[in-house]
């Protein structure tokens, strides 16, 4: 049972990590705490569901589709709405993104109704047997994909010009301007990528969890904890924190019982914040709100 617990924790942690990267980047680069992130995850899941039920498209192939849809949505929302409140106060961006989240949820209720949906592929329930431990195929594939996406985004940020523009703007907006980087474009791009990653996480989640308009709300708590735990703006931090979060929850369930999952996870979170406020792998300039 111990090895099964470890596997359960790691596999789920990988998914949570991907769900958190977008949120973390937006917070680190733009200083915006995007409460609509849960809504983006939910829409990613619905895109995957829609593609699966209408075209029989396997959810793994729906990931690029979800990412594309959310990229466009994210870019639009940032350029038209979020940009206007970014320079004012943190509270306003919280309220705005909260409002966007509510609008997204209610649109989905109108279009899809609040009935629960599920994506059941042929391989949905099957598992790989390794020495008495069952590794469900879907969870394993989700885990691998999640880490691949995290790595790809990390490389994007470090190796491409657009990615480096994002990092530069986060470090110092004024100097970045001097380097012919348009901050508004960068912010829109960052938000769009954040949304796209949320969409990918949603598409992956559609295979594991029941899909409903309010499913994003269950993620946002974990996403918050993982972001701050890993260090705001740090992708490696998100991955590490995500895996840690998954493991802590799984072990707590084993040792203390399922009700204590959240209590212990948040206790660990608070402890690390007290001992190391910038998170596990965070750097000091990300997370400062200018």
């Amino acid at each position: 049972m111990l090895s099964q617990t470890i596997i359960n924790g790691l596999l789920l942690g990988g998914l949570y990590a991907t769900a958190s990267i977008g949120f973390s980047m937006v917070w680190g680069v733009m200083g915006v705490i995007n409460l609509a992130h849960g809504g983006f995850i939910m829409i990613g899941a619905y895109v995957s569901y829609w593609a699966f039920s209408h075209f029989g498209l396997d959810p793994f192939f729906a990931i690029p589709l979800s990412m594309a849809v959310l990229f466009v949505l994210g870019y639009f929302l940032q350029a038209v709405f979020v940009n206007r409140v970014m320079r004012t106060s943190l509270l306003l961006s919280l309220i705005l993104t909260f409002g966007i989240d509510m609008i997204l949820i209610n649109i989905v209720v109108l279009v899809f109704s609040s009935d629960f949906r599920s994506v059941n592929t042929g391989y949905s329930g099957s598992s790989l047997q390794i020495a008495g431990t069952l590794v469900p195929y879907v969870r394993l594939a989700t885990f691998v994909f999640a880490l691949a996406l995290a790595s790809a985004f990390y490389l994007f940020l470090r190796r491409t010009r657009a990615g480096q523009a994002i990092l530069a703007t986060a470090l110092d907006k004024e100097i970045a301007r001097l380097m012919a980087i348009n901050p508004n474009r960068v912010y829109a791009l960052t938000f769009a990528f954040g949304a796209a990653l949320a969409g990918a996480a949603g598409a992956l989640a559609s295979m594991l969890f029941p899909i409903s308009p309010s499913m994003g709300k269950e993620f946002i708590g974990a996403v918050f904890v993982i972001t701050v735990l890993g260090g705001i703006g740090s992708i490696e931090g998100c991955v590490l924190a995500g895996l840690l979060y998954g493991l802590v929850q799984a072990f707590t369930s084993l040792v203390l019982g399922v009700n204590y999952q959240n209590v212990v996870a948040f206790a660990v979170f608070l402890t690390i914040l007290i001992l190391r406020p910038r998170g596990l792998l965070g750097q000091r300039f990300f997370g400062e709100i200018s």
């Binding site: 099964q4 617990t5 789920l12 629960f116 269950e218 369930s253 399922v258």
Partner: protein, 391 residues
């Protein structure tokens, strides 16, 4: 934001008698879906009664009028609206809201004014243990939630020996789980594992991993639709194969079945009402008739919430006809003496307003169709036991 819905139905012509019934139900908020079903059930009865010329009370014909207010799925709002319906709208009787939590608040108000309330969708036992005299519920109570499944297990030729009970940590599921655990122990079953998980948990693999190592022959779950879906999917992923899976709530919900597809086969649960029940009664002949008339009227299939609303109206009508008066005390006495049947089930109230003859039935999904398998007198097909392993 607050939207009080006044839905005064057909105005009475001068000289006609009107029976005014108030109903504070959830038309917005988290119970909007269920509240809407309940309202449609109440309206179905009202239209059927009025189409037959109204209710006969002591030789006089009364037209039924229902005044609806939206309680926004909030207990305080519902209590306030109930008071308003009694004191300002001067209703004769009340139809209860959806959910025990809200009904607990409104019952206190209606009791204060001695206004009789028929509340088919508030089944927490605690409401009926407070000595209220004017609250009546035709549906079976929460504590009986999983008992029919246990009775079915008792009737099996080769009984299973071990059982696990899991569910969210919430009022209704806790009541159901506790009652089921007591009965299982009485029956001699060994309870090898119980778990209470946080209601909106996104992942149940830890619970299912523990289930796997406990290896019970029967798994009973008291969860809502979302977590029951998650539980079943996780059990399949981790290859947990009990001989029987019984659910307290979700089996009645169509999207539970539709989401799972063939995976849902042979899972069973309790149901307040299905269209294939064979009880017969007044105003609505039987469940098949109800289902087809409801579908013709509202273009969708009826749910148990709607059926319970209609049944509540029918039972009130039966009592009014017996009492030959609209005096709540006389109607109360008539209700206590009532011993009959509606399409929804048998009726016999005790002095706390609990319908002791109400029985949940066990529905099993066979080939994608929910099929009544217990009690034997009203079943469609025999139960499929033991359950096949997940494919």
């Amino acid at each position: 934001m607050a939207c009080l819905l006044y839905c005064a139905t057909a105005g009475a012509a001068p000289g006609e008698n009107t029976l005014k019934i108030g109903a504070a139900v959830s038309l917005s908020g988290k119970f909007a879906r269920e509240g809407e079903f309940l309202k449609e059930g109440y309206d179905f009865w009202k239209d059927a009664a009025n189409a037959a010329g109204g209710i006969d009370i002591g030789g006089q014909k009364y037209k039924v009028e229902i005044v609806y207010n939206d309680d926004e799925s909030d207990a305080q709002t519902s209590a306030r609206l109930t008071e308003k319906l009694i004191t300002e709208d001067k209703v004769n009787f009340l139809f209860g809201p959806y959910s025990s939590g809200i009904a607990t608040a409104t019952a206190a108000i209606s009791e204060k004014y001695n206004v009789l309330t028929m509340v088919p969708m508030a089944t927490a036992d605690s409401i009926y243990q407070r000595g209220y005299r004017f609250v009546f519920c035709p549906s079976p109570l929460a504590s009986t939630g999983l008992l029919p499944v246990l009775e079915l297990i008792e009737s099996l030729p080769s009984k299973p020996g071990t059982i696990a009970i899991v569910g969210p940590d919430s009022l209704f599921p806790n009541i159901t789980a506790e009652a089921a655990r007591k009965k299982a122990e009485q029956m001699g079953l060994k309870v090898v594992y119980t778990a209470k998980y946080p209601q909106s948990t996104p992942d149940l693999s830890s619970v299912v991993t523990a289930l796997k190592s406990a290896a019970p022959e029967v798994v009973l779950a008291t969860g809502y639709t979302q977590d029951s879906l998650l539980l079943v999917k996780s059990m399949r992923e981790l290859q947990v194969n009990p001989k029987l899976i019984g659910l307290a709530m979700s089996i009645a919900v169509p999207d539970f079945r539709d989401s799972l597809g063939p995976v849902a086969n042979q899972i069973m649960g309790v149901d307040y009402w299905v269209p294939t029940l064979t009880y017969t009664g007044h105003v609505v002949k039987d469940s098949t008739t109800y289902a087809s008339q409801y579908k013709a009227k509202y273009s969708k299939d009826p749910t148990y919430q709607a059926a319970s609303g209609t049944a509540g109206g029918i039972i009130l009508q039966m009592a009014l006809e017996q009492a030959r008066s609209t005096d709540p005390k006389l109607v109360r006495e008539a209700l206590l003496k009532l011993n009959g049947e509606t399409f929804y089930g048998k009726v016999e109230f005790n002095d706390r307003g609990v319908n002791t003859a109400a029985k949940l039935n066990v529905t099993q999904i066979q080939e994608g169709r929910p099929t009544v398998v217990f009690p034997v007198e009203v079943r469609e097909k025999p139960v499929q036991y033991p359950k096949d392993a997940w494919k």
